[in-house]
Amino acid sequence: MNEVFVGLPKRMVKISVDGTDVQVPEGTTILEACRRLQIDTPTLCQLETLTPVNVCRVCVVEVEGSRVLVPACSRKVEPEMKVLTDSERVRHSRRLVLELLASSVDMALCAQQVHGWMARYGAKPERFGAAATVAQPVKIDNDLYVRDYSRCILCYKCVEACGVDAQNTFAIGVAGRGFDAHISTEFTVELPDSACVYCGNCIGVCPTGALMFKSEYDMRQAGTWDESQQKVTETVCPYCGVGCMLELHVQDNSIVKVTSPLDHSVTAGHLCVKGRFGFQFVQQRSRETKG
């Protein structure tokens, strides 16, 4: 019941998407307008909590009067805009983007949704030859997480979460240009020698499984990782008084992963090293003295 200045009122803008009219507030993106109409739009590099970087191009739509396809995730609506999300040109472009990505990196661990898009657009990555042209060994240089860049589609989300959009640690960035572009620590040092503070917020936003909890990686290697047997329970972090909401992923009465809901007002999906990794004590309760 407090008085809060919420900004100036926004004008409503009318646009049409696939022939359906919709009114949205000024400043809304085409993607949000599509979602309002429940038009499922593929995205890989987009996340509500991160600044759009327009790199994956899988969300492109056709806008009447525009020479090129436009990224729905960042393009703001304009009055009387006419958007097509399922034209042949859009379908062709989305299919090609998915094929190019999936033919160069291993996208097997992407969310089911991504595989659904591949099927919907008839993507056949194999027509570009052998997959995983950026194949390389998994980087395991610490006990908390692994980096498997043969799964990296260069969506920049990890860089953004490590940088200005959340953590502001700047341990990683994009190095190289063109096909040589890759995510790297400064001077390619190992993670323990970098500025990394192990908040794991890069894992939290990674859409392909390139960044992964060591615990998950080990279980996958051992063949014991089974998401169908996992239950997710929301609770509050046991450490400081900020009150971050945790999602505990539990398999066989063991916490195997910790995440936080993107829409939680305290965390926006982000945690620190204690919240993300400091859970083991609860399942190491031997009779020995602690403390």
Binding site: L144, A166, G241, V242, N253, Q280, V282, T289, G291
Partner: protein
């Protein structure tokens, strides 16, 4: 503050304020996700001022760092107030309408010219002036603090000195303004809210108010319970010392390791006639106990609620089955009640919470269903149509002000009890590191690549003058005891200032050095200010 013990603002306000003073807090490491909100504020153009003896990771983000001497916060705050008044930046309209005690306060701070503050704090007068003017002129300004303010023998006075600044400039009760203690544990706020403080019942209701006492008593079937103020932790230890307190029931606390002057704490706990410890681990305190009650972990093996630093009540839920023999806290307490002759049955966490809601008006609207729907609710929340409260004390801006005026409290500089002398010339302060927590009972369970062994952090200049090398083991001694510890050079420290954590008691018992001088009002010990000396170890054959 002014009758309700909670941070006045919401985290999101830090994103939309003009000035944030982080006072005695290294939130970058100790409250990292709050610091995300704060950094969003900085990105949106807010100025950040860090007041801390150490130039911490938080200070690195600040526009200005005031590296004051440990325990000189009141001198700094009072000098800022004097500067604000002299510059005509005091909000006289707000002071006149919503506060009381201004004249006494103004008289008190008049004795703190910049020269005096510079002498007592070690901060250049010009910098104090700049911060005073910046805070006075900002439209919106927040002050946030942590244990750098409260772990002192005059903790309450320190907090009052900060409250005074907000009252002086009208920076409370408005969006983007406020006074925020960042809580150190996930339910410190909730514990206080629930009456785990000596003179309060749930919802900060006064234990000694007959009407309140009667309300609780009749809700509990006419049960009789004391109507006099209890003891806080430090008073309990004093009562043990006098032989007045002979038995204790400790739940989820490890005072044998966490108390200042550990030798004394262990001696007193060992001397009790009867000690019961309820914990998820067999802690050092539990080892001293006659009876240990193994408990389920509150955050992952039980149902309930906790309250965070923005007064948000959130649910914790059972995700794991507790180990065999460990029981839920509610179950243990109910079972204890039954054996003492009072059968409460086996209430669920929700039933206990609903009882609390029926007795504590500020929690009344927080049904579990609503906590789930709204992602937690910030108190006060008076009924099930109430959205919760973004920030407190808006009433101070009503004309005429609703309810009592907010009082100024004139407080005076009072340096740390453990004085620096030639024998003990170095100021030792304590704190946390990013990846560890308190006595390490919980964080010891995971392997952190950031973790380094406990060390006595000193400035490279002190290392040179003491003739010790980075990494060399030394003896650190205070008036209470001494420990062997390796030194580590740390550029965030000024000469004369040393830093240790309490995270690794198995490596170094830092609390052998700390002083148990406590604030009489809050009971917190002066962990932040011990006087020590550092001696080279005598090498064999020397």
């Amino acid at each position: 503050m002014f009758g309700a013990g909670g941070g006045t603002s919401s985290y999101r306000e830090a994103e939309e304020t003009d000035l944030i003073i982080l006072w005695g807090s290294n939130a970058r490491e100790t409250h990292p996700i709050f610091f995300h909100h704060l950094l969003r504020g900085v990105r949106n153009g807010a100025r950040l001022i860090a007041v801390d003896p150490r130039r911490t990771g938080s200070g690195e983000w600040a526009d200005l760092w005031l590296g004051l001497d440990v325990g000189s916060d009141i001198s700094l705050a009072n000098a800022m107030a004097r500067e604000i008044i002299h510059e005509g930046l005091a909000n006289q309209e707000f002071i006149g309408r919503a506060t009381s005690g201004y004249e006494d306060y103004a008289r008190c701070v008049e004795a703190y010219p910049l020269e005096r503050a510079e002498r007592e704090t070690g901060v250049p007068g010009e910098a104090i002036k700049e911060v005073a003017h910046a805070y006075g002129r900002a439209d919106r300004g927040m002050i946030c603090w942590t244990l750098g303010i409260t772990e002192h023998h005059n903790a309450t006075d320190n907090v009052l000195a900060l409250i005074n600044l907000a009252l002086l400039t009208g920076k409370v009760g408005r969006y983007g303004c406020g006074l925020n203690p960042l809580r150190g544990q996930n339910n410190v706020q909730g514990g206080g809210d629930m009456g785990a403080i000596p003179a309060r019942l749930p919802g900060f209701q006064d234990l000694q108010d007959p009407a309140i006492h009667q309300k609780f008593s009749s809700a509990w079937g006419g049960a009789k319970f004391p109507d006099k103020k209890g003891y806080h932790l430090s008073e309990m230890f004093e009562a043990m010392e006098h032989g007045e307190l002979k038995s204790a029931y400790i739940v989820g606390e490890n005072p044998a390791r966490s108390e200042a002057d550990q030798t004394r704490a262990v001696r007193l706990l060992s001397g009790l006639d009867h000690l019961v410890v309820q914990d998820i681990f067999l802690t050092q305190t539990a080892e001293l106990a006659h009876i240990v009650l193994p408990a389920a972990a509150g955050w992952a093996e039980s149902e309930g609620t906790v309250t965070n630093s923005e007064r948000r009540v959130q649910r914790v839920r059972r995700a794991l089955q507790p180990p065999a023999g460990a029981r839920d806290d509610i179950e243990i307490i109910s079972e204890l009640a039954r054996r003492l002759g009072s059968d409460w049955g086996r209430p669920s966490a929700e039933a206990v919470w609903d009882e609390c809601r029926s007795l504590s008006p500020m929690h009344a609207g927080m049904a579990y269903r609503r906590l789930d729907e709204l992602g937690g609710i910030q108190w006060p929340c008076y009924d099930e149509d109430h959205p919760g409260t973004l920030f407190l004390h808006e009433r101070l801006w009503q004309d005429p002000v609703e309810g009592p005026r907010a009082p100024f409290h004139a407080v005076e500089h009072d340096p740390p009890v453990d004085q620096l002398t030639e024998e003990f010339p170095i100021r030792l302060t304590t704190g946390r590191r990013l990846d560890s927590f308190n006595t390490g009972v919980q964080t010891g369970g995971y392997t952190s690549p950031l973790r380094t062994r406990e060390a006595l952090l000193i400035s490279p200049a002190d290392g040179a003058s003491l003739g010790v090398l980075d990494g060399e083991r030394v003896r650190a001694s205070s008036r209470r005891g001494s420990v062997e510890v390796p030194v580590r050079f740390d550029a965030s420290l000024r000469p004369g200032l040393a830093f240790m954590t309490l995270h690794f008691p198995d490596q170094v018992s830092t609390n052998i050095l700390t002083i148990d001088a406590t604030d009489p009002k809050s009971g917190t010990a002066e962990f932040k200010a011990s006087a020590i000396r550092i001696d080279k170890l005598v090498t064999a054959g020397a």
